[in-house]
């Protein structure tokens, strides 16, 4: 324990180290946990996350150090009254000024990120129709709206429909923009893919949309993030990001299965598993 006789500088150092250690600990755990994101948009958001985190940790370390220091340094030692200081003057200007500078800075940076991720996709991006329902998902693909490899004359839609016991898989190609159209006919749900660092609500009576470009292939965990009733916790799904030819093969397979042989004229021809 720190004793009252410690010289002032040592106490200051102790306070600063304690606060610094705490801040480091928080950074360590945050970086171990925080997913970096797999889309262009997510990576931008992740940068913003780190800016906010660093700003927050600096504020925390400074205030915590001041608090710990004050508590140690100004322990009651005798009965005499300390100077009765009411505040005022320059220090009160700083009290308002410093927070204003911090929040304006953070606000500006967040708006820049917001504008960057809000860039609308061009019309020929692959579109996936997402419908949330109590309690699973439907992912529908219109065969004439499949992005870079679309046959404009193809007709029909294929759909993946899940159940609470059987999570659906959402297929999407890597390295190209994909637009999601979100709809619901019962209650509000929220489409949340952890590694997109993004969620958007599915709201009865309106269609929400967003666009991302994934940069990593693999399976990613996702689930509904808005309370929607009894089995809300079971509205899970997997996002499977695959190479373009694998995606085309999957579409061809599904089209054959759901719409009958020969409905889809697949130009890529590669057969996946």
């Amino acid at each position: 324990m720190l004793r009252m006789s410690l010289p002032r500088r040592v106490r200051l150092l102790a306070a600063a180290t304690a606060a610094g250690l705490l801040a480091l600990l928080a950074t360590g755990t945050a970086s171990a946990i925080q997913p970096g994101g797999i889309t262009d948009e997510a990576r931008l958001m992740n940068e913003l996350f780190w800016i906010v985190t660093i700003a927050g940790l600096i504020v925390f370390a400074l205030v915590a150090a001041a608090l710990v220091y004050a508590i140690i340094r100004y322990r009651r030692k005798g009965d005499e009254l300390p100077p009765q200081f009411h505040g005022g003057g320059k220090i009160e200007v700083a009290m308002v000024g410093v927070p204003i500078l911090i929040v304006i800075g953070l606000f500006t940076i967040s708006m820049i990120t917001l504008v960057q991720i809000d860039d609308k996709a061009d019309d020929d991006a692959l579109t996936i129709d997402v419908t949330g329902f109590q309690f699973s998902w439907q992912f529908a693909y219109n065969l004439n709206d499949l992005g870079t490899n679309t046959d404009p004359n193809a007709e029909g839609t294929i759909a993946v429909i899940g159940t609470p016991a059987n999570d659906p898989i959402l297929y999407m190609p890597v390295d190209e923009p994909v637009e999601f159209l979100l709809k619901s006919n019962d209650v509000i749900h929220s489409f949340y893919v952890v590694d997109f660092l993004y969620k958007l609500d599915l709201i009865p009576g309106r269609v929400n949309s967003f666009t991302v470009t994934a940069r990593e292939t693999g399976d990613f965990r996702a689930q509904c993030a808005e309370l929607c009733g009894t089995n809300h916790a079971l509205m899970r799904f997997t996002v499977r990001v695959v190479e373009r030819d694998e995606f085309d093969a999957w579409v061809a397979d599904e089209a054959a299965r759901q719409l009958g042989e020969g409905t889809l004229v697949s130009s890529s021809g590669t057969q996946g598993d």
Binding site: L44, F60, P83, C224, G229
Partner: protein, 537 residues
């Protein structure tokens, strides 16, 4: 300053129970509020332990999915509507008249009415558990259309919340009139104790915001029962409208839940630092600023709906960080250069400052709109809520209880048990809620009854559950201290802490009508002036 007890009218003795039921004395009503709200703190706490037990391990089936939704909804409803909002009315009732040197509230009978609306509402809300379909289960936010689907428990919840809202609206009017009209001679607005100021701004928020909630709830009730279509898109209604009106009340309500706690902390810190509050006026203006800005940030709860003007609400939300930052300076500046002692109330006050600091910082994550897209509706937000409402408000409640216990009940709570209580609660709190940040970053949504083993969330959840039980254990020394105190005679002097404000200028507990005589009020610290004369000015 000793007071001569006013002799009671003799001849007719009312039974004690009747006396409590019919009382219009602000102190007795204040005590009733405190008993009532602490009871519901316990109820909400037990529900929280059920939540934490269910989440301790993956794929748990301790309570079913349906029951889980009822339990967490009622946890939040009890904690917010039946504990934290009315607990400030309890402190306020007891303290505001005393602190401004008045004999009672402006409208004592209306005051009794506000209190007696609470028990029926509480019973009605919880009776949901015994009706068909169970208690309300749409979350305390009752989002439409989900809130249209559930059973009659939801209707009971709606009526209960309307009644609670009426209680706090008329209570707010009462507080405002009391503070505007009944201050002691010499007590200008800027000499009013800081706790009163926070109650004043809280009352204003309640008066302006609560009727909006009542209107929203009536619309929801009509939608549910009489085929209204306010929130139903199939009939031309709008789903998001509910969220707009709900949060128009409920964001200001967040400040209703925390401002008086800030006031309590700002009473305690100066007393045990033996210095005035640093920047009294800045604190008052910051409080007013928070109240005003509080009305312009509601949609920050709706960033992911896709129908919000993001830059505006992001900006306003950041701006509310400014008055909040000012307060952190107020508190640090009060400690700085002081002569600080650490009895239990002071520990809770310092605990408040440090936990509220974290609650402010993790709140900025959600103000940064693109970061909120990731964190909204995850456990990160659950962590934020509790750093503010538990690490903040609840620590202030206990700080206030330890601080004013000698005044209210004439006895002191045992210091050792108090310190043990604080230590256990502080550690338990952080163990329970800090890991939730990590769970949220890792994508665990809030309000889920189960999670899969494969998600890898079990270890942190188990840790968090352990912390929750440690919080429960921390209540044991508190309860022992209360029982021990009540077993002893009343022995507290007028002013056991060397405090600053008028409630300490009368006996502990104060007599009917509070004061025989008042010291002159020449600053915001009349008792300090009486003790030290002008030596320190």
């Amino acid at each position: 300053m000793a007071t001569v007890a006013v002799p009671q009218l003799s001849g007719y003795h009312r039974p004690a129970v009747l006396d409590w039921i019919t009382t219009v004395d602000h102190k007795k009503l204040g005590i009733l509020y405190l008993y009532f709200t602490l009871f519901f703190f316990a109820v909400g706490g037990i529900l929280a332990l059920l939540v934490r037990t269910q989440l301790a391990v993956a794929d748990n089936s301790f309570v079913g999915n349906d029951a889980y939704n009822q339990i967490f909804t009622m946890h939040a409803s009890a904690m917010l509507f039946l504990f934290i909002i009315p607990v400030w009315a309890g402190f306020g009732n007891y303290l505001v008249p005393l602190q401004i040197g008045a004999a009672d509230m402006a409208f004592p009978r209306i005051n009794a009415l506000s209190f007696w609306m609470l028990p029926p509402a509480g019973i009605l809300m919880f009776a949901g558990f015994i009706v068909d379909g169970g208690a309300a289960d749409g979350g305390w936010t009752a989002y439409s259309p989900l809130a249209q689907q559930t059973g009659v428990g939801m209707d009971m919840w709606i009526i209960a919340v309307i009644v609670l809202g009426m209680s706090s609206t008329i209570g707010a009017a009462n507080f405002l009139v009391t503070m505007f009209r009944m201050r002691a001679p010499g007590m200008t607005m800027f000499r009013m104790p800081i706790f009163c100021w926070t109650m004043l701004v809280t009352a204003l928020l309640q008066l302006l915001a609560t009727p909006v909630l009542a209107a929203a709830l009536v619309m929801l009730f009509i939608d549910r029962n009489y085929g209204g279509q306010f929130f139903d898109p199939n009939g031309g209604g709008n789903v998001v409208l509910w969220q707009n009106v709900f949060w128009f009340y409920s964001h200001p309500a967040v400040y209703i839940m925390i401002l008086p706690g800030m006031g309590i902390v700002s009473e305690i810190l100066p007393v045990f630092s033996r210095k005035p509050l640093f920047g009294y006026k800045a604190f008052v203006f910051a409080t007013i600023g928070i109240g005003g800005l509080g009305f312009s940030v509601w949609a920050h709860h709706m960033f992911t709906t896709g129908s919000v003007l993001l830059p505006f609400f992001g900006f306003m939300t950041f701006m509310i960080g400014v008055p909040t930052g000012v307060k952190i300076f107020n508190w640090l500046g009060t400690l700085w250069g002081g002569s600080i002692s650490f009895p239990t109330p002071m520990l809770f006050a310092i605990g408040f400052v440090s936990m509220f600091l974290i609650g402010g910082i993790n709140g900025t994550y959600s103000a940064a709109v693109p970061v909120d897209f990731a964190l909204h509706d995850t456990y990160f937000v659950v962590a934020h809520i509790h750093y503010v409402l538990f690490g903040g408000s609840v620590f202030a409640v206990f700080g206030g209880l330890y601080y004013w216990f000698p005044k209210i009940w004439g006895r002191k709570l045992n210091e050792r048990l108090g310190k043990l209580h604080f230590a256990l609660m502080f550690v338990g709190f952080n163990v329970a809620f800090f890991p939730m940040h990590m769970l949220g970053l890792d994508g665990m949504p809030r309000r889920i009854a189960v999670y899969a083993d494969s998600a890898g969330w079990e270890a942190l959840n188990m840790l968090s559950t352990g912390g929750a039980f440690l919080i429960a254990v921390s209540m044991i020394p508190f309860l022992i201290a209360v029982v021990m105190a009540f077993m002893r005679p009343k022995d507290q002097p007028d002013d056991p802490w060397e405090a600053n404000t008028l409630e300490w200028a009368t006996t502990s507990p104060p007599p009917h009508y509070n004061f025989d005589s008042l010291p002159p009020v020449r600053s915001e610290r009349p008792l300090f002036d009486a003790r030290h004369g002008d030596e320190a000015h």
